[in-house]
Each structure stands twice: as structure tokens, then as C-alpha cells.
């Protein structure tokens, strides 16, 4: 993370962030017609009279889009309600009807919350359905609209179903914002509502940022930042924008409510328009559609079909291991929690499961089975394998599967007989008697230092086959004698 601000600049200030996330819903066809909803493809190939807004065409609501929206609502702990589509009117060439069918005063989902991995709950104000627009490519002039010699429009995206999830202004910094989007993304993917690909634009984030002095309750004037295409840009944009606003206020001026554009290359935001220049969308109920009234039964059915959510999975695994849910978030994020639970139910050592999944299995489990993983952790805790040896066996199991005992044997990782080890320890002590005296008589720091020294020598002597833990036990036993 590039730090733009030094701590002095933001000291005494709090950044307040509210995110509006648009996610493309993973339906086969578009929101209001049977044209395909698929990314890529020849420009304007996935179109029909409805998604091109041809005169006389009429929208017909895709039931699957409603179902997915309800899934999102339930996963975000929202109230699912009777909803009404509205027209949001404005002229732009990527908008074939010159209005977007959206939801205004009666969204399908309202008032929910999302739990961050650290346990904080962030309010969700609403999650409503709307249709996507086409995509414009500006040709010439470096791709900028004003210098372009002409523009091309691809309506393949036009009419793709979107859910807009409006979060409350309860995030307090770039890390919060990134955690929120990651968590939301992971929920959307888990419930099959969206593929969540930010790089393909199926997940887009608009970011409202304001600042206020520490200890004040009142919200500052916000600016909305558009064109954020990755989690990294999200953090950068927030840092830049917060600093810009603080500077303005500290110089005695006031923040103007604006919509701003994030420029990834320049690493800054630009003004797009002020509040006065904002569109008057002239919302009114869409007369071509009827209100959506999902039955209690249907909502229940959808609720029952929801898979366990990341939050539930974090809690479940944390309980199984006996740690806080915050400690299991990385494993759930990597989708390894089911594997972890299977290993635990095969009597694995819980703490080693946590350690290995977090540190040594970041690239996936490959051919490792929960059973093999479980017995490996047992071998490790029994002292049959050292930490280094365990890692090596683990890597082999990931690579080609098999039985940990056999692999350990094939590497010659047989645990040393303790008497054999004791002999070596004694020999090393006698060869380094000065250091041994320091070990016995030194303070805690000195003792630690010397224990490292001896363990190192012994490991070298045994070609790494000795268990460091046992070596230490032998050393302290000898010191007390």
C-alpha cells in the first residue's frame, strides 16, 4: 500500500466512507429480455430489441434476477419487501432508452448489515435491482472522451441485471473499505449471485468520502468517487481524497459536494460535476412493469437454499479450533474451511491445522487429503517429525498425494532415538564448554541466545533430523542437573 499521507496530516481527523457496490447478477439472460448475459463476445452480438431500447419494445422481468437479488438481500440480513421499478431518466449514448430501469423509493431489499472479518457490523441501507448500461470505447485522444475522434458503443452489457448495494457511512478508512468489499464479494460469490470479478467490471465500487475532526458526530460534506477498478485503487483513492478534503478545510475553505473521477495513472481524483450540475433523474414508476411481490413462501425457500456464508463459516471453524473468528478469516477466504473441518474430524491437531493452512497452504491443497493432513499434524506434534520435515512432507503431499508416514520414511525422516540424541548433545556440550557455562549461568536473554546456538549445532550434526523441541528439553534437563 502506497502511503500518501504521513501520520501528521491526518492526525485529529476521521475519514468517513460509504460504499455503493454494483454487482452484475449471474443470470443466463438479461434483466428484461432473453438476450444472453455473458462477458466478452463480438460487440453488439448479445442484443435484441429490448436491450437496444428499440421503439415498441417492452421489458419483461427475469425471475432469476429477482431470485438472486433476494439471495443477496437475505445474505445481507435485509428485509425483503414488495418493490416497484422506476425510470431514472438521463441522456447518455450508452443508455439506449435514455432511462435506466432501477428501483427508487421501494427497493427489493432494505435495512441489513454485513459483518466484517473483525466482527464489526456495517449497515446496509438497501440493495436494489437495476439494469446495466452499454459500454463506450473512445477512439483516439488517449481514450478520453473530450479528445476522442469518435466513440464506439457495445450494447452487450446493456440490460445485464445489477444489484446495487448501498452501504451506510460506517467505514473509517481504506482498510475498512477494502475489508468491506472483500467480504461483500465473498458473500456474493458464495451465494452464487455474482462472479464478483472486479477486473471484468462485474463488481464496481462507487465510494463516498467525507472527513470530520475527531470527536465530532456530524458528517462532513461528501464527495463521490467513480471509476475505481480494484481494491488497490479503492484504498489509494480514499487516501488521496481524504487528504484533499483535509487540506481544503485546514486552509479555511469548505468542501463542495461533487462527483469525482479516480485517475489510476495520475493517482488522483478529478472533479466530474458539482451538486448543482447533478442530473435531475425525474424518477417515476416504470409503467411497463408491475410491482414485484415475492411470496413469503418463495422467500423462505430461497433462505433455506442459501449455503453457509463466510461469516457463519468463520464462526464455525473458530469454534472447532477454539480461537476467535477473526483468526479463521484467511482460511475461509481461501475456501479451505471445509477441508480444515474434515481434517479436525480426522483427529488432526487443531492448532497445527490453523498454522499450516494460513502459512504453508496459500497456494492450495493440491492432492492433500484431510486424512493425510490430519495424520501429518499428529506426527508433527508427537515429535516424529520436526517442523522443517513436516513442511517438506506437506509439500510432497500437496504435489503428489500419498501417505505421510511413507513419504517421511522415503526422505529418511525417522525420528531419532532419544538416547542417540542425548549422546550427541553431550558431545556438543563438552566441545563447547564456555558456551555451556553461559547457558547455565546466563540471564534469560543469554540463555535464549545460547539455546539457539546449541540447537543450531545439534541440528547441523544430525542433518536436521533432531526435533528442536526435544533438543531444548534435553538441554534444560542437563542444565538443571
Amino acid at each position: 500500500m502506497v502511503k500518501i499521507l504521513n501520520s501528521l496530516d491526518i492526525k485529529g481527523w476521521e475519514t468517513v466512507i460509504g460504499l455503493e457496490v454494483h454487482a452484475e447478477l449471474a443470470t443466463k439472460t438479461k434483466m428484461f429480455s432473453s438476450a444472453l448475459n455473458s462477458f466478452g463476445g463480438e460487440p453488439n452480438s448479445n442484443t435484441d430489441p429490448v436491450s437496444l431500447g428499440l421503439p415498441g419494445s417492452l421489458p419483461v422481468l427475469n425471475e432469476k434476477a429477482v431470485e438472486l437479488a433476494i439471495r443477496v438481500g437475505l445474505a445481507l440480513n435485509c428485509q425483503v419487501q414488495k418493490s416497484v421499478f422506476a425510470r431514472k431518466n438521463y441522456f447518455y449514448p450508452d443508455m439506449p432508452k435514455a432511462y435506466q430501469i432501477s428501483q427508487f423509493d421501494l427497493p427489493i431489499n432494505k435495512e441489513g448489515w454485513l459483518e466484517l472479518p473483525d466482527g464489526r457490523r456495517i449497515g446496509i441501507e438497501r440493495a436494489h435491482l437495476e439494469e446495466d448500461t452499454g459500454k463506450i470505447t473512445h477512439i483516439g485522444g488517449g481514450g478520453r472522451i473530450h479528445e476522442a475522434s469518435y466513440s464506439l458503443i457495445d450494447y452487450n452489457r446493456s440490460g445485464v441485471p445489477l444489484i446495487e448495494i448501498v452501504g451506510a457511512p460506517e467505514l473509517r478508512g481504506p482498510d475498512d473499505a477494502r475489508d468491506y468489499v472483500s467480504e461483500l464479494r465473498s458473500i456474493l460469490v458464495t451465494i452464487g449471485a455474482s462472479d464478483g470479478k472486479m477486473e471484468e467490471g462485474s463488481l464496481r465500487v462507487d465510494c463516498n468520502v467525507s472527513v470530520r475532526r475527531d470527536g465530532t458526530e456530524e458528517l462532513g460534506t461528501r464527495c463521490e468517487i467513480k471509476n475505481i477498478n480494484s481494491l488497490r485503487s479503492l484504498g489509494r483513492a480514499i487516501e488521496y481524497e481524504a487528504k484533499r478534503q483535509i487540506e481544503i478545510i485546514e486552509s479555511g475553505q469548505e468542501i463542495e459536494q461533487q462527483t469525482r473521477h479516480w485517475d489510476e495513472a495520475e493517482g488522483r481524483t478529478h472533479k466530474l460535476r458539482s451538486k448543482e450540475e447533478a442530473f435531475d433523474y425525474r424518477y417515476f414508476p416504470e409503467p411497463d412493469l408491475v410491482p414485484v411481490e415475492p411470496s413469503e413462501e418463495w422467500i423462505k425457500e430461497i433462505a433455506n437454499s442459501l449455503p453457509p456464508l463466510p461469516r457463519d463459516r468463520r464462526h464455525l471453524l473458530a469454534e472447532a479450533i477454539g480461537v476467535e473468528p477473526t483468526e479463521t478469516s484467511l482460511i475461509v477466504e481461501r475456501d479451505l474451511d471445509t477441508f480444515a473441518l474434515q481434517a479436525i474430524s480426522s483427529n488432526a491437531d487443531k492448532n497445527r491445522v490453523l498454522v499450516h493452512l494460513e502459512n504453508n497452504l496459500a497456494d492450495g491443497i493440491g492432492k492433500l487429503t484431510p486424512e493425510a493432513f490430519a495424520s501429518l499434524t499428529v506426527m508433527e506434534t508427537n515429535g516424529e517429525l520436526t517442523a522443517t520435515q513436516t513442511k517438506r512432507v506437506l509439500a510432497d503431499l500437496v504435489e503428489s498425494g500419498g501417505d505421510p508416514q511413507g513419504i517421511a520414511k522415503s526422505h529418511g525422516f525417522e525420528s531419532m532415538d532419544n538416547s542417540e540424541l542425548e549422546e550427541i548433545v553431550e558431545r556438543i556440550i563438552s566441545e563447547n564448554s564456555d558456551d555451556w557455562l553461559s547457558y547455565i549461568n546466563g540471564d534469560e536473554t543469554e540463555r535464549k541466545k545460547k539455546s539457539g546456538f546449541f540447537v543450531g549445532l545439534i541440528m547441523k550434526e544430525t542433518s536436521g533430523q533432531a526435533d528442536g523441541k526435544i533438543v531444548n528439553q534435553i538441554l534444560s534437563a542437563k542444565a538443571e542437573n
Binding site: P49, L54, P55, G56, S57, L58, P93, K97, Y283, F284
Partner: protein
């Protein structure tokens, strides 16, 4: 000849579809240059279609109920590969890649499309003078307007260009020109006929319906085009109407109300000709065994005002897509925004611009509640008043229009006077109820007068029964 008769004779092989179509093309060739009912006559295709029908009959295939019947189509209904202009320069040359649902249904039923008829631009008007391609004239008197906005369709039927036509009715655009041209015109219950492929003016009010010379032909056409369409979300999930089986059941015992706010002294600007025909209609119904009394729909007097907020509001949004980007002519300027502005400035006529501005204003932040919101509440009020009236009456009647046909140019300078032409028809659109106009004699000026028959939602059958009674007594029955 009646449509039902043509279909019968063509199906039985007594008459060829080709001869029927040729006969109608002849009539068109003779007087269309005076009437200007069509934006486009598709004579060549009509003959091809007719031949196809004849060969199907020759090979023993059974054809639909409109086999070989010529029909004219209002030029705001999409016809695949055939120019659909809405009588606007902004759509000149646009050929839809698909057919409206009603077009598909007509073709399945064996109807032969003769062409696309003229209208007030985007169906906004009551005289067909707002067409970018010149006005249509009333076949009964070429100095007078045919009414509108479906003036071309009404004139086509009145002039004998085709026994049937389709129009669209947002505030009276089928019924008023039907009255002024002396033909039958029907606005069905909202949702009865699919709007898929009807170029939208005001989506919550628009409804497609038939024109015909007789009540039974109109009934047959409505049977063909009605029924649920999954491509229109506001389409009523019902089977196609069956009207003909009850058409001759009369009005004996029916309770008929004359809407006092829209008839006689209650209606400002009503011509004595029209008033006296309404009184005559009352007698006909009484003699046929109905109880006829005065009925009150108090809120109907606010219909016009509410309509001129709701319809332009929806229109301002529906017509926003005409920006020259994807279809239709484009006036190229330096930037996209300027191109859009120039295209729209050049492409739309005055009345369309007036309504776009009105509607945009009514929906603007800070004005929405005062205008659009209030108008929707008036709409609810009108529905409630109708519901109350229908507790006492099976159907209601009124004049279709306050006057008979008026001279071209008479009302073009005063939009309010023009809007008043629809004062009797608008309430049914706001309520979503069916209503139709039946020709019922002539005024002192020799021009046709239409009686409007209104019915509760879904009660087309009763409405048609009453229309049939009126027709039988009007001296116009050609059965």
C-alpha cells in the same frame, strides 16, 4: 363488404384473396391522393400475401378467421422490415427488425396488411394535422379533419381502403376519429391487447384496438388481437375474447347510465347535433328494454387536466430514446450532446416538443408531487367514481366527441381547444376501462356522430351487445 363476409368467401374459395386485395388497391389508387390516409401503401406485399393465402386454400389448408381480409395499420405499430415512422421525421426510414404482437396475430388469422396509416406525430393530437407527412382528410368531406390521432386508420376504413384497421388509443385516439369518420372504433380494457411493438406514447394509457365498418367486424378483429402476451408485462393473463357468441343478446334488462358530466348541458362546448343524437340513443336503448337513467362520474371533469400531466410525463421519458444514436436520421454536430440536441430539435414537431417540455417539467425535482403525484391521485378518484357508477349501471354512455368533424386548421392555433376534443374519451384511459364509439346517424352538417359506450374493466362483451343494438337502429347496419 364486411370483413366476416370476405373471410367466409375467401375461405370457401368463392372469392380469391387476390381479387379482394386488388379491389381495395383500386379504391386506394382512386382517392388516396385526396384523403392521404396512408404513410405507406404496401400493395405489392399485399398481393404476394393474398396469393399465398389463395394457394393455401387451394391446397386445402384451413385459414384463420380473417382470411384474405385487408387491414390498414397505424404507423406506430412495428412491422418487420417495413418503415414505421409514427408520422415523425425522427423515425423516417426506420425499419423495425420485428413485428408487433398484434401484427403476428393478424397474419396468423389470415389478414392482409395494406399499408401504414397516418397519425398525429407519435399519436399526439386529435386531428391528424400534427403529422410530419401532411394531414389526412375526412373521406366524408375533404375540407374537414378525420379526427386523431388514428385519423389515417379511421379514414382508411371510411374510404373503403380496407374494411378493417388498427389504431392506438391513449386518450381517445381510436374513438374520436371513429366518431368523426362514421366508423366503429374500440379501445379495449388496458392489458387486453398486447402493447409489444406499439411505439409508446404514454405507456400506462396506450391500448391497441380495431376500426371497422360494423360492430361485428370490430368484435371479430378484437377477438383475433386480444389475449395474454408474455412479452408485455401489463398484459392481462386471459384467453382471447369471445364476443361474437353474445353479440346479438341485446340490452333487455340492462341498466344503462348517461354520464351527466359528459353529456348535454353538463358538457361545455357540446354541439346541439351531438346532444340530440345522445337523446336519440337513449330512446333506442329504452325501446330495446334497457333501463336508462342519468349517471354521475363527478371526477371525470378533472380527467383532461390529469391526462395532460400523466401522458406528457410518460411521453417525455418514452421519447427520450430518439437521439439519433442508434436509429433514425441523425443531425451530426461537434459533440454527442449537441448531436442529440440537434437531432431532436430537427426531428420532432411542435406538439411533440410541447408535450416533452410539459412532461419533463411535471416530473422535475420539487414539482413531482404537485403535478405527477396529484394527477395520479385524480386518476384514482376517477376510478373510484366509475366503480360507484357501475354499482348502479351495467354500462355507461356519452357522446364520443363534443362536436362533429371540424375544418382543417380550425384548432391548430389553440392547443387547448384541440385537447377538449378528448374530454369524453380520456376518463376511460385513466381508469383502464374499455370504451367504444359507434356511428349513430349524422348532424345537421351531414357529418357522422358517434356515441361512446363505456363499460367496466373486462366487460367488453356487454359493451359490444349495447353497441350492436345501437348499430341496428342507426340505419347504418349493412348486414
Amino acid at each position: 363488404m364486411k370483413a366476416t363476409e370476405i373471410a367466409e368467401k375467401v375461405s370457401s374459395g368463392e372469392m380469391s384473396a387476390r381479387s379482394v386485395v386488388e379491389h381495395h388497391i383500386e379504391t386506394i389508387n382512386k382517392i388516396e391522393s385526396d384523403v392521404n390516409a396512408f404513410n405507406l401503401v404496401t400493395a405489392e406485399q399485399a398481393l404476394i400475401d393474398a396469393d399465398e393465402i389463395d394457394s393455401k386454400i387451394a391446397s386445402g389448408e384451413t385459414l384463420g378467421p380473417l382470411a384474405g381480409v385487408p387491414i390498414s395499420i397505424k404507423d406506430n405499430l412495428c412491422t418487420r422490415g417495413v418503415e414505421t415512422t409514427c408520422s415523425s421525421k425522427i423515425l423516417e426510414g426506420w425499419k423495425p427488425p420485428y413485428n408487433a404482437t398484434v401484427i403476428e396475430k393478424l397474419r396468423e388469422a389470415g389478414a392482409v396488411i395494406m399499408g401504414k396509416t397516418n397519425l398525429d406525430e407519435f399519436a399526439m393530437g386529435s386531428s391528424t394535422e400534427n403529422s410530419a407527412f401532411g394531414p389526412t382528410r375526412n373521406p366524408h368531406n375533404l375540407e374537414l379533419v378525420p379526427g386523431g390521432s388514428s385519423g389515417g386508420s379511421a379514414a382508411a376504413v371510411a374510404a373503403g381502403f380496407s374494411p378493417l384497421a388498427l389504431g392506438s388509443d391513449t386518450g381517445g385516439s381510436i374513438r374520436q376519429p371513429a366518431a368523426l369518420c362514421g366508423v366503429v372504433g374500440v379501445k379495449p380494457t388496458y392489458g387486453r391487447v398486447s402493447r409489444y411493438g406499439l411505439v409508446a406514447f404514454a405507456s400506462s394509457l396506450d391500448q391497441v384496438g380495431p376500426f371497422a365498418n360494423t360492430v361485428s367486424d370490430a368484435a371479430l378483429t378484437l377477438e383475433v388481437i386480444s389475449g395474454h402476451d408474455p412479452r408485455d408485462s401489463t398484459s392481462i393473463p386471459e384467453k382471447p375474447l369471445e364476443i361474437l357468441e353474445v353479440l346479438n343478446q341485446g340490452v333487455d334488462g340492462m341498466r344503462i347510465g348517461v354520464i351527466e358530466e359528459l353529456s348535454g348541458k353538463g358538457l361545455e362546448g357540446i354541439s346541439p347535433d351531438v346532444s340530440s343524437r345522445v337523446e336519440e340513443a337513449v330512446k333506442v336503448f329504452s325501446n330495446a328494454g334497457a333501463t336508462v337513467e342519468s349517471a354521475s362520474v363527478p371526477a371525470s371533469i378533472y380527467g383532461l387536466s390529469a391526462y395532460y400531466v400523466i401522458a406528457p410525463a410518460e411521453a417525455s421519458s418514452n421519447l427520450a430514446r430518439y437521439d439519433g444514436i442508434r436509429f433514425g436520421p441523425r443531425t451530426e454536430e461537434a459533440t454527442t450532446a449537441e448531436t442529440m440536441t440537434a437531432t431532436r430539435t430537427k426531428g420532432f414537431g411542435d406538439e411533440v416538443k410541447r408535450r416533452i417540455m410539459l412532461g419533463t417539467y411535471a416530473l422535475s425535482a420539487g414539482y413531482y408531487d404537485a403535478y405527477y403525484g396529484k394527477s395520479q391521485r385524480v386518476r384514482t378518484l376517477i376510478m373510484n367514481d366509475f366503480a360507484k357508477a357501475y354499482e348502479k349501471f351495467d354500462i355507461l354512455i356519452s357522446p364520443t366527441a363534443p362536436t362533429t368533424a371540424f375544418p382543417l386548421g380550425d384548432k391548430t392555433a389553440d392547443p387547448m381547444q384541440m385537447y377538449l376534443q378528448d374530454v369524453c374519451t380520456i376518463p376511460s384511459n385513466l381508469a383502464g376501462h374499455p370504451a367504444m364509439s359507434v356511428p349513430f346517424g349524422f348532424g345537421e352538417d351531414g357529418m357522422p356522430v358517434g356515441i361512446q359506450i363505456l363499460a367496466p374493466a373486462m366487460a367488453e362483451r356487454e359493451m359490444f351487445q349495447a353497441a350492436k343494438v345501437l348499430e341496428s337502429e342507426s340505419g347504418k347496419d349493412i348486414e
